[in-house]
Symmetry: C2
């Protein structure tokens, strides 16, 4: 790995985009910080979308590996383009649905990038496949998913934490005008 | 360095605290992401406070170095305690005022952790001592500092970006109640 390239904090505009949703840089930074990564971490990114979380985890975990899954073909394709752009060789990308098509390996950190119709099954999977003290992180926009994830973590996970983050970005008009992004919930917890 | 310890995303409660202010984990994650660090970065942390930014930069830049400065003796002491706790040997801590007492070296990334009576002088210093494309990041709570920093960056820095971040944290009462932290501005820019 080139020691002089940015290892964390890739600006949004450096990712190849499409119609696929992307977690914006500020929220991405928080989610990644909650994943408690180290260079050897084995990370699972469920619902990888554009692949921005996949790429940033791949850069940090340069002696570990990232498994990325999305059910949409176009998300898998764009994630692959971004993984290639950042010259990562530690990422495994899967087109399929979670949790059924996720490789049944051990993971140190699992990220769920949005809601799912299978929240309970995904958290069952996390409970079975995270290492002890392994970290589960989810970003949600719906109150419904937020509530369901918090409820499903209870009793099996510890250090359950939820942050609601509302970012406004400055736009230079005559002066600086702040324009609001939608509030995002970032949930994190460790397996007991 | 131990490859298995968390390299980024240290929870707030793992830092030794005192009456010195500390940037909370979510805002810290964003600020660090804006610093565009790599393992060899030379970072300057102005107003290091508790030393949480210093420590996280020291962990990421394990082949680089961090210079931390604060004018308060108790901030310098607590930063030193935290640097020792995390067993970092790439951090230089200075008790003194910015910019006068900052070592006149080249830096890849400079972080200003709050306002200062010397904003213009600090940004002059950053202009003189950042490498080309080097990154300046500031966290502010006052509109006044936010405005002054944005105005001082203009014309000498590019990619000027400002995010206002408002984090609410969940507290488990009967159910999850969100309690608001104060909004923080995170300004970032690169030297032209």
């Amino acid at each position: 790995m080139d020691n002089n390239r940015t290892m964390f904090g890739i600006p949004d505009e450096e990712f190849i985009r499409d119609k696929v949703p992307m977690t914006k840089s500020e929220v991405r930074a928080i989610a990644i910080s909650k994943l408690r990564l180290n260079p050897t971490s084995r990370v699972l990114d469920i619902g990888c979308g554009t692949g921005s979380i996949t790429v940033e985890c791949g850069l940090i975990c340069n002696q570990g590996e990232v498994t990325a899954i999305d059910q949409k073909e176009e998300a898998v394709n764009i994630t692959r383009k971004n993984v290639n752009k950042f010259e990562l060789n530690n990422v495994n990308i899967i087109e399929g649905s979670a949790p059924n098509d996720i490789p049944k390996k051990n993971y140190d950190s699992i990220f769920l990038g949005g809601g799912s119709r299978h929240i309970d099954n995904i958290i069952d999977f996390a409970t079975d496949h995270l290492v002890p003290e392994g970290v589960f992180v989810a970003n949600t926009i719906l109150i419904d998913s937020t509530y369901k994830i918090l409820a499903a973590l209870e009793g099996r996970f510890k250090d359950i934490d939820v942050a609601m983050v509302q970012v406004s970005k400055g736009h230079k008009i005559a002066g600086w005008m702040m324009k609001a992004n939608n509030p995002i919930y970032i949930i994190s917890a460790r397996l007991m």
